[in-house]
């Protein structure tokens, strides 16, 4: 294990892996079937949506169960723009800005709420959004949805890339840029502020960070990412309908986010892979029992790596160590996430602090 860790931390090894992976990402669509390319593109789409979710939930600690509403909004704007023949950059801009503005307005009102109350407001978004989408059918195509044909391989590249490959490259490049943007956000001052707000609002206030303002900000950014994901969704699926907003999509994204790794950029990618692949996997096992296996897989993954897939290496090390040390520690220890650097002064994870966080979640 140790030698493995050392290997991956070596800069040159990483560089080599990076180059290999980049090459793979470029070459893969050329040799893969349309299905695989579709899957990969869909992963990129949901990676962006879940990334937004991770910013508001993972980094800032605000429960959001309404991300699918922004995904749907973005997809609808894109679909409308495409049918009206607007230029693609304009469509992209609107797909980012309009959901962000909607998110901002909602957040201005809702960010004062906490925990469950906030969760409830966000649950309401897809629930209100679906009948609204049906109501405004001249824009949305009603319940039959809107089918588009766009983002096809341009003429100048006739005979080189096919539609699915072209769409893959467009989507993956935009997704990569969104990831870069998110990475810079969470690594910077803003990300630090998000984390402090999540950890302890009182501390945030005491050092001049307005929790309200940063929550609104996080929510707005999440909505923007959701809208962009909607744009990409339309590019990949070429179709949108009220089902895109479905509350279940939101719930599944939250589950995927935690499974991938909360408050982790890398984890978001695992989350998207999980989100797209698990239904396939369940279908492979038995198409009549997908719910059973999806639920079982979800629980199994969380049991093995409670901290998300991203914590897998740490988890393996931890399990190995506890196997070695077994005997003198009470069994409970293994279950308790620890915070070694804080020493005796900090409350343990079992202490009042974590319960205070629990309480906040409930809005009490």
């Amino acid at each position: 294990m140790k030698s493995l860790t050392r290997l991956t931390t070596n800069r040159w090894v990483r560089l080599a892996i990076g180059v290999a992976v980049a090459a793979l990402l470029i070459v893969l669509p050329l040799i893969s079937s349309k299905f695989v390319n579709y899957q990969l593109s869909l992963m990129a789409v949901f990676a962006v949506a879940i990334l937004g979710l991770n910013i508001v939930m993972g980094y800032t600690g605000q429960v959001s169960l309404g991300q699918s509403a922004f995904l749907g909004l973005g997809a609808y704007i894109a679909a409308y723009g495409v049918t009206e023949g607007w230029p693609i950059p304009l469509i992209f801009l609107l797909c980012a800005v309009v959901p962000a503005i909607v998110g901002l307005i909602i957040a201005l009102a809702a960010a004062r709420l906490r925990g469950l109350a906030l969760a409830m407001v966000t649950i309401a978004l897809p629930i209100i959004g679906i009948p609204l989408a049906k109501r405004f059918r001249e824009f949305t195509g009603g319940s039959q949805g809107t089918t588009v044909r766009w983002l096809s391989a341009p003429e100048w590249n006739e005979g080189f890339l096919e539609n699915d490959q072209w769409r893959y490259y467009v989507v993956v490049i935009i997704a990569a840029l969104m990831f870069l943007l998110a990475r810079n956000l969470v690594r910077g001052r803003m990300g630090r502020a998000f984390r402090i707000v999540k950890e302890n609002e009182a501390v945030a206030i005491s050092i001049g960070i307005s929790p309200y303002r940063y929550k609104v900000l996080a929510f707005t950014i999440a909505s923007l990412f959701g809208g962009v994901a909607g744009f990409l969704y339309l590019g990949v699926v070429q179709y949108t309908s009220p089902e895109t907003m479905s509350f279940h999509t939101s719930i599944n994204m939250v589950a995927a986010m935690v499974i991938g790794g909360s408050a982790s950029i890398l984890g978001t990618i695992f989350a998207a892979i999980y989100f797209v692949l698990v239904p396939n996997l369940a279908n492979e096992i038995n198409p009549s029992l997908t719910a059973l296996f999806s639920g079982a897989i979800l629980l199994a993954v969380l049991f093995l790596v409670p901290g998300g897939v991203v914590s897998l290496p740490r988890r393996i090390a931890q399990v190995l160590r506890s196997l070695r040390r077994r005997g003198n520690a009470p069994a409970r220890d293994a279950e308790t996430p620890q915070n070694p650097s804080d020493g005796a002064l900090a409350p343990t994870a079992t202490g009042p602090k974590s319960t205070e966080k629990n309480r906040k979640r409930q809005g009490q």
Binding site: A110, L113, P131, T290, A291, A349, G363
Partner: protein, 293 residues
């Protein structure tokens, strides 16, 4: 006027459906301090047990009793085996575990019974009373009575018994509660078991109308959550009143406000809820909590 009253009555009846599940949510929250999506799954699976027992020839009362016993065991076992390791970790993870349980339990129910809705007999018969031109079904009255009874029982449990006190203490701060000698893990198991029982009571109350199917409570659960939060989350009577309120305004808005119509009436209670929460974040009946730093 009769039409108006009839709509209000229908709203109350529908609200009772939401209220039944909202009570279960309130109990889980008070007993375990957790928001529990698995609640719906446990209720559905247990209601299926009632269905299966009835189908196998047991009298309805016995079938429901059997389902209640099953529900208690199911809740307690799930808490002990699956939820326990996550209770002290990140709350988001715990919530996602309950999401996983929700999906899994639905899948288990589907595995045994399929997805097609199945009919479930009502305890109260199909008769309807005509009171001065307003029609009230026995089923609605029965549901309301049972709800009221459950609210009273819950009040007695939480306010009047040592068990209730201990459950509240554990939900509030499990570590501190254990320092006073409260057997926290035991109490959490009982809390989940009781909540699961409330869930199955809700399930058999609404099953004659919604039929029994793995997804029977999916949307009711959303309304129930809204009711529980609107009611202040720790107040059983608040949750029921909020549920009635939601049922009534939804019906009235759908019937009287043209721009709302039947398609958008679902939005009305949620918009109202959002406005109320923004004005009173603790909900209609929740106690105001002053958080000191």
């Amino acid at each position: 006027m009769e039409y108006f009253i009839q709509l209000v009555i229908e709203g109350l009846a529908t609200g009772s459906i939401y209220g039944a599940l909202a009570l279960a949510i309130v109990l889980v929250n008070r007993a375990t301090g957790l928001i529990n999506f698995a609640q719906g799954g446990m209720a559905v699976l247990s209601t299926f047990v009632a269905y299966a027992l009835f189908d196998a020839g047991a009298p309805l009362a016995l079938a429901i009793l059997g389902a209640i016993v099953f529900a208690f065991a199911l809740g307690a076992v799930l808490e002990r085996v699956i939820v326990r390791p996550f209770e002290r970790g990140d709350p988001d993870t715990a919530v996602v575990v309950t999401i996983g349980l929700f999906v899994l339990l639905g899948g288990v129910a589907a595995f045994f019974f399929g997805y097609e809705p199945r009919q479930f007999p009502s305890f109260f018969g199909l008769e309807t009373l005509n009171i001065a031109g307003v029609f009230v079904s026995l089923r609605s009255i029965g549901t309301i009575v049972v709800l009221a009874l459950v609210v009273v029982l819950l009040q007695v449990l939480f306010r009047g018994t040592k068990l209730g006190l201990a459950m509240r203490a554990v939900a509030d701060n499990p570590v501190s509660a254990s320092l006073s000698g409260l057997p926290v893990s035991w109490l959490l198991m009982i809390g989940w078991g009781l909540a699961s029982v409330l869930g199955v009571i809700a399930g058999v109350l609404v099953a004659p109308q919604l039929f029994v199917s793995p997804g029977m409570l999916d949307f009711v659960l959303v309304y129930a959550l809204a009711a529980a939060i609107l009611g202040g989350l720790d107040s059983p009577q608040g949750a029921v009143i909020a549920a009635w309120f939601i049922g009534v305004i939804e019906n009235l808005a759908g019937a009287y406000i043209d721009i709302v119509g039947n398609d958008l009436k679902i939005a009305v209670p949620f918009v109202v809820m959002i406005i109320i929460l923004i004005v009173r974040p603790q909900g209609l009946f929740g106690r105001k909590v002053v958080v000191r730093v």
